[in-house]
Amino acid sequence: MDGIHDLGGKHGHGPVVHPPSEPVFGSDWERSVLTMFPAMAMAGAFNLDAFRSGMEQIPAAEYLTSRYYEHWMHSMVLHGTAAGIFDREDLAARTRHYLEHPEEEAPKASKPEQVEALAGLIAHGDDYRREVDAAPRYAVGDTVRVLADASTTHTRRAGYVRGHVGVVTHAHGAYVYPDTHATGEGENPEHLYTVRFTAEELWGAEAGSANTVVHIDLWEPYLTTA
């Protein structure tokens, strides 16, 4: 999607405000939202790529002015509604209720088997690498150009590298293809490469771009021979 989330190279977002330290969770509710991610994924509401795609559908002005875990809630409501877990009217009514009764906590339940599943997930993660029969089309050292086409659905083909020429620095083997995995069209694993671009190629002879390169990981369908 050619959305506001595709931020690389954009101007107007100001300096990086970096407090020397900050709490891991800015508010208590963020703890719940963090855990809703694996909980809802385990319930089949979304996979990682669909989850990212959901965040990309946040209206642009809201995307830039909302907190990180707000983005998460947005995608969870979108997918959770589609999966029949949430009903928007019910959710709105309950939200009003808790806003009027901030001292009231959400109901409690114990799920020791979920704690165990989370411990396994945190320790081992997921596996996105896949074996494929197709040989990789590119090798380390090859010069490639990123497809310049616009995009209407989820993609990791960042806007700032589209149409630009770089050199393959790593060929990683095949991985789940986010563009179709996000839309429910399947994993369709594709070869993944790290491609290096000079700053001059991406931005021209901008001040500060001397002696600078940018690497990004790109799937084979994003590339053509330069």
């Binding site: 508010s27 855990t35 990212r52 979920q114």
Partner: protein, 209 residues
Amino acid sequence: MSVDQKIQPVEGLSMHSDAELAARAKAMEAILVEKGLIGSDAIDYMSSVYENEVGPQIGASIVAKAWTDPEFKERLLADATKACQELGFGGMQGEEMTVLENTPDVHHLVVCTLCSCYPWPVLGLPPNWYKYPAYRSRAVRDPRGVMEEFGLDLPDSVEVRVWDSSAELRYWVLPMRPAGTDGWTEEQLAELVTRDALIGVGDVTRPGV
């Protein structure tokens, strides 16, 4: 600490107050609990892992080991996932990791322009600035300017290599060991290594230098 002291500019613009967001999260949690899809103990467990166990001190300890054990350093640079596994570290959002070695001639910087991909098993959950638009937009276009804002002024003779984490591969930085730390223990060295240095917006310096 009040909410106002914690927020960053992007949060100050939010259309929703912290109270509204808390109410929405509670409403979602209530539905998930009623449907048997989330446990309160699971919420306590997962948040506690990232609040108390998994954080940048892990990355710092791995760096200190690499500084003091050349064979481990070689393994770390060749296959960071495997080398970290030796020490019991790895997993979610760091299933495949690559460690990038800073040298006098090359400095690495890690970003995710499209979302907020970050090596959780060794750095924990990302800080807010890593997730917000300013860093994500500028790290690939003006990395030297961004690093200057963090107090790191690199001469043009040092090549800057930016890594945009767009796939399920996670990158982090092995900073240079500061001079004057000969004979320091791993524990002493680890204390010098900051989260910012592991992302590449900072460097490691000896106190008083």
